[in-house]
Every structure is written in C-alpha cells, then in structure tokens.
Amino acid sequence: MRKSTSRLWAIALALAPVAAFAHHSAIRFDLTIRDNMVTGIVKEFEAANPHTKIVLEVTDAKGTRDIEYEGHSRNNYYRAGWREGMVKVGDKITLIAAPTRDGSDGGYALGVIAADGTKF
C-alpha cells in the first residue's frame, strides 16, 4: 500500500509538467520552484476543472491568514490518486506549492499531502 501510494505520488509529479498547464499559462507562479512546502488548515477545497481551488489558513512569519492556492484540474488530481472526501474542511494538509513570482500570498499546488498522509 505504501509502495502504491509512493508510485502514485511519483506519477503525479511526473505528469505535472504537462498536466498542470493544460489550460493556464500559470504565469503568476514560479514553476521552477518545486519543493516549496506549505502546511495549513483547509478552509476550502474545491476540486474543479480546469483548476482546483484550495484555501488554507496558514501561519508563518507574516501572521495567520487565509491564502488561496490554485491546483491541478480535478481530473488530473483524480488520476494522481485523489478521491472525493479525501480532503475536508478543517484538515491539516501540506501543499507542494510553486510560489507566486511577486512574492505575494498564493501559489500553484503541484502536489498535496492529505491529512492521512495520502499524496496526490
């Protein structure tokens, strides 16, 4: 099971260069940075096409606030292992998020680590 999850994670990251930009130039985000981790409490998780909307309550040096992230399409998250109900409001999750180019809040969720450790 562990191996299977790892494989899905690897597949998700491998697919990311193509799938993530299917519909969006993602010009706001610095997609060369692929190891930026952000942890927060889910305020909203809307798996949608062409892009998923994720709002996290994040606490960092700037304080605590809600930050909106953009993510892969619902279909691409599905193929990477996400299933309905896997991410719920109130969950503590981690995003692998390409940051914004201008340093403002937000980012592009290249991957998600759900509360139970599932990666997609």
Binding site: L15, A19, A20, H23, H24, A48, P50, H51, N75
Partner: protein
C-alpha cells in the same frame, strides 16, 4: 469440355479469392479506444514551454496574433481557462495532455476529448452541402479511407488567433493522414500527419505530426468546467445582484 469447365471453375475460384482478398484488404483499421500522448520507451517526460520555431505568418496575421498575446499573456489567460474547447488543429495536436476517445463507425468517427468534453466529428460517406455548414472551432471534417490510412479534410473553421501553436484564419484547410501501427512491444500507436493550408495567415503550409498510444483500461473522466461559474451566478441571484 471437362477441361474448359475445370478452367472455368478454377477461374471462378481465383476470382472469388480475389474478391474476398479485396474485401479483407478494404477493411479499415479500427481506431476505437482511449488514446493518450505517445511516449517512446525510455523517452523523457515532455516539458512545458518547448521552443517553437517562428511561424511563417503574414504581417497582418502576425499583428493580429501579437495583439491577442499582448492582451492575454500578462495575465496568463487562455480559452481553456474559461472552459472553452481548443478547436482544430490544437484539439488533435494536444488537448492539454488529456486523453481522447475515438468511437469508430462506418459513417462517422467521433473523437471525444476529455478536456472540456470537446467532440470532433469526422464524417465518412456523404459530405454535407456547403450551404448547410457554418464556422466552428473544430470546423467540419470529412474523411475517407485510402487503404489502411484515414484522410481527413477539415474546413469551415472559425478564425482562431487563440490557438496555442497554430493560429489560423476562417479559410484555413487542414488535411490529416492517420495511420495505425503496432510496435514490437505490442503498443498500438496512432499517427497523424497534418498539413494546414491558410494563405490568408501563412506564407506557406504548416505541417505537424502527432502520435498517440492506445491506453487499454483507461476511461475518459467527466470534465465539468462551468459549474463553479454557474454556482457563483446563482449566488449573486440569491443576493439580488445582477451580473450586469
């Protein structure tokens, strides 16, 4: 007499075999199935933003395309971001990396792209009358079998400066040649060689090649895209606000 009869029977048998052989040879290949981007064994994953050779655009067409990009590029906008299908030739050349499903019948081939649930119809048999057609992002496609190759001509396209790779005018004509091979490892590979002729936009025809591989066991997923916008609209209505 017996010899004559024997010769006649032999001739009939040969003729019968020839007809049967011709019938077998005329049986077109079956493209039915779900297809994804082809990647040769051991090849690296394709990366976004690969440089594209400059297009041989005419000056006025280039001005149109440049104006479009000046408008949308700074904010990263695109038709797909607004739930609009890609249209030809981009739909067949990529469709965002999502799979496509081909459903083949004798008189029509349906190409269903997962992205935006976009559908392309390739008609076989009787061609529609020109007066019954109107411009569309995927145009009107009419195909014919030439042996084991499918030749498809697409016309009645809308002008599309928003095509990612090959913008075109409404008078563009796209001809594709499809062929199916099975690799040594058993992978079925579908290849399309495309030529787009558009003297209004280009100084010379555009050519491109695209390969897919059959993906047994993969199913197309629903691709609802406008639902959030509809829900937001409903919410505004509930709050007594107008979109205007």
């Amino acid at each position: 007499m017996i010899e004559t009869w024997g010769l006649a029977r032999f001739g009939a048998a040969v003729l019968g075999l020839s007809i049967a052989g011709a019938a077998l040879a005329a049986e077109p290949p079956d493209f039915t199935g779900v297809w994804g981007n082809y990647r040769a064994p051991g090849a690296a994953a394709p990366q976004r933003g690969a440089a594209q050779a400059p297009l041989p655009l005419r000056a006025d067409a280039k001005a149109k395309v440049d104006a479009y990009h000046a408008l949308v590029d700074p904010i990263g906008d695109s038709p797909g971001g607004h739930c609009l299908g890609t249209g030809m030739p981009g739909s067949m050349l990529g469709s965002g990396g999502y799979p496509m499903e081909i459903v083949q019948h004798d008189n029509i081939i349906l190409v269903v792209f997962e992205a935006h649930a976009e559908i392309r119809r390739i008609y076989l048999g009787e061609r529609a009358k020109a007066e019954d057609l109107f411009p569309d992002r995927n145009g009107y496609s009419f195909g014919r079998w030439e042996g084991d190759k499918l030749i498809v001509e697409t016309t009645h396209l809308k002008e599309a400066v928003d095509q990612g790779r090959y913008p075109h005018s409404e008078n563009a004509r796209v001809v594709e040649e499809y062929s199916l091979v099975t690799n040594d490892d058993g992978t079925k590979v579908l290849t399309s060689k495309m030529t787009m002729t558009d003297p209004e936009f280009y100084t010379q025809p555009i050519t491109a090649e695209k390969k897919w591989q059959l993906q047994p066991g993969v199913r197309l997923l629903p691709y609802e895209c406008n639902e959030p916008a509809w829900e937001e609209h409903l919410e505004r209505l509930r709050q007594g606000q107008s979109d205007g």
